[in-house]
Symmetry: C2
Subunit: 333 residues, 2 copies
C-alpha cells in the first residue's frame, strides 16, 4: 500500500494546484470517502470562482472531441481548464470507456489542464452527489473554467449539465431516429446549441429544425429573453470553436446582467445540499434494510401492504431517530 | 371539464379491465396525484401476478419494433399483454417522441393489449416512483405479461429494467462508438441479450463480442449459474422472436427453480418502497425551500458553509418533525 497523506495536507496541496493532490481528492469523492465532510469544509472558502460549462448530447455526437477543442480555445485565452467527463458507470466494462488516455493526448503536457473521467458506480444518486463535489475540488484548485461533459440521455446525467453556468447541447446531423429519442429531455436545458460534424449531409436541416423548435418553445426555455444560439462546428478540425466560445461568452454576459448567473448558482447550491441530504436519508433507510425494509418488502410483494403505507412507516422510524426503540414499537403493534 | 369518476370507482373499473379506467389510473401516476395512496391501497391485494419483462438498449436499436413483435408473440400464446414505454421526458418536445399512434397501429383493435408511453417529467426520482406504480395498475388489471421498455442510457432508466423479472438488453450491429458508450451500464443487467437487425453487416461480430464479454464477466452477472443467452432477431420481419421468447421463458424457468424469481420481486418491492420514501423525504426538504434551504444555499454559494454541514442541518430539521419550532431554533443559534 502507498501511504496516503492526511486529508488536511491533501487539501493544502490541492489549493497549491498540485495535480496529484487534485486527483486524489476526486478519488475520495468517487469513493464517497468518510473524509469528504472534512474536505468539503476545508474547500468551501476557496470555491465559487470557477465558471462551469456543461456539455451534453447523444452518444456519438462528438462530445469528447468538442471538449478537447474547447480546452484548447480557453487555454489560448490564458485560462486554466479542468474537465470532468462523467460516464455512466459499468462494473462490467471496468469503468469509463472513453478513457483518459485518448483525451489526455493533446493536453497531457499542459500543467494548466486537468482532465478526469469520473466513474460514478451504481445507483443511489451517485452522480448527483459526486459531480458537484468534484467540481468544488477543481474550483478550489484554481481552475478558471471547468467543463463538465455527460452523455445526454438519462435524468441524472442531464440534470448535472442543466445546473452549469452555461449548458451546451451538442447534436449532429443524420443520426436518425435514435437521436430523435435521445434528444428528448436535453433540448430544453440548452443555453447554447452546437451542431457538430457540420460537414455532413443534413447539417443545415438540423440547424433549421433546432431554430424552429427554439422559436416554438421559447417560453419554455431558460430565460425569457435569451434566444438560444445554434452554432455549427466541426470539432475534429477545430472549426466553429471560436463561434462556440463566443456564444458561451455571450450567454455568460447576458446571464450576468440579468441576475441569471446568481440564480443558477443558488439553484446549484440548493440541488447540491438536497442531493447530499437525500443520500444521507437513503443511507439511514438502508440501515433498516436487514430488518424492517425486508419485512415491508415481503408484505408489499404478497399484496398485504401497499408501498406508500410502507414508505410512511419507514419515514416514521427515521424521523423518530431512535431506530431500535421504534422498530420494537412497530413490531408490537 | 370532463367529470372524473371517483377513485374507488376508477379502481373497480380497472379491476374489471376497462381500458379507459386503466389509462386514467396511469395518468394519476404520471401526475403524482394525491389520490395515489388510496389507489395503491385498493390495488395491493390484486397485484403480484403479472410477469414483468424489461427491455432496454441504446437509441436506434429497434426497441419499439421488438416490443411490438413480443406483444404479437405473447398474444399468440393467449396472454394479455401490457406495455409501458418509458421515454425521458421533455416539456420542450411535448412528451414521448415515439408516440402511441405508431405503436398502437398493429395492436389497436386488440382489447387484450394495452400500450402506454409514459412521460415522467422532471427530476426528483419521477421515473423510479412512477414506473412501478404504473406496473401495479396493469398487474391488477389482469395483464399476464407487462413489457417495460426504456432507453438504455442513464441510471434511472437502466435501474427500472434491472428490476424486471427478466431483463432483455437489445443491441444492434454496426452502430459504432456511440453504441460503445451507450452500452456502459446496461451489459451487466442483461438476463437475455438480443442482437437486433441481425441481417446487417457485423451481426456475427457483435454476437461474438457479447459472448466473449459474457464469458469474461460471468461472475459479475446476475446469477451464478445462468449463462446469458444471445439471440439474433430481425424484429421488423418478426424473425428470431420465437427464439427470444424461448430464451425469456428459459430464464423464467431457471429463475423460478433457483429462488431468483422471488429474490428479484423482493428487491423490486424494496426499491419501490425506498423510492417512495426518498421522494416523500425530498418533498419535506422541498417544503423548507422558501426559507431554510434558500438560506443555506446562499451560504454554500458564498463559501461560508459547506454543503455536507448544510445537509446535516436540514435533516435535523426534518427528523425533528416540527419544522417551525426547529427553524426558529436554528435561526436563534
Amino acid at each position: 500500500m502507498v501511504r496516503q497523506p492526511p486529508t488536511a495536507e491533501l487539501v493544502d496541496r490541492a489549493l497549491e494546484r498540485h495535480p496529484r493532490a487534485v486527483a486524489r481528492l476526486i478519488s475520495l469523492v468517487e469513493a464517497d470517502s468518510p473524509h469528504l465532510r472534512a474536505v468539503a469544509r476545508a474547500l468551501a472558502p476557496h470555491t465559487g470562482r470557477a465558471r462551469v460549462i456543461g456539455l451534453t448530447g447523444p452518444p456519438g455526437v462528438g462530445k469528447s472531441t468538442t471538449t478537447s477543442a474547447l480546452v484548447s480555445a480557453y487555454r489560448a485565452r490564458g485560462q486554466r481548464v479542468g474537465v470532468l467527463a462523467v460516464d455512466p458507470s459499468s462494473p462490467f466494462s471496468g469503468g469509463a470507456l472513453l478513457g483518459d488516455r485518448v483525451r489526455m493526448g493533446e493536453h497531457a503536457a499542459d500543467p494548466d489542464v486537468f482532465i478526469r473521467s469520473m466513474a460514478t458506480r451504481g445507483h443511489l444518486g451517485g452522480l448527483a452527489v459526486a459531480t458537484p463535489q468534484a467540481l468544488r475540488v477543481l474550483d478550489a484548485a484554481g481552475f478558471d473554467v471547468v467543463l463538465v461533459e455527460t452523455v445526454g440521455v438519462g435524468q441524472s446525467e442531464v440534470d448535472v449539465v442543466a445546473l452549469a453556468d452555461c449548458a451546451v447541447v451538442l447534436l449532429a446531423p443524420g443520426m436518425g431516429d435514435g437521436v430523435q429519442a435521445a434528444k428528448a429531455g436535453i433540448l430544453e436545458i440548452a443555453d447554447v446549441f452546437a451542431v457538430n460534424k457540420a460537414d455532413r449531409d443534413g447539417a443545415e436541416a438540423t440547424v433549421r429544425e433546432l431554430k424552429h423548435a427554439i422559436s416554438l418553445g421559447r417560453r419554455e426555455i431558460r430565460g425569457p429573453s435569451w434566444r438560444t444560439p445554434v452554432v455549427k462546428t466541426i470539432a475534429a478540425r477545430a472549426e466553429g470553436i471560436t463561434d462556440l466560445v463566443d456564444a458561451i461568452e455571450a450567454h455568460q454576459a447576458w446571464a450576468g446582467e440579468r441576475g441569471e448567473f446568481t440564480a443558477r448558482r443558488l439553484a446549484r447550491a440548493r440541488a447540491e445540499i438536497e442531493s447530499i441530504a437525500v443520500r444521507e436519508l437513503r443511507a439511514r433507510l438502508g440501515e433498516l434494510r436487514g430488518d424492517l425494509l425486508d419485512r415491508f418488502a415481503a408484505e408489499v410483494r404478497s399484496g398485504t401492504l401497499d408501498p406508500y403505507r410502507a414508505a410512511d412507516d419507514l419515514i416514521a422510524v427515521i424521523a423518530a431517530n431512535d431506530t431500535n426503540a421504534t422498530i420494537a414499537g412497530i413490531h408490537d403493534k
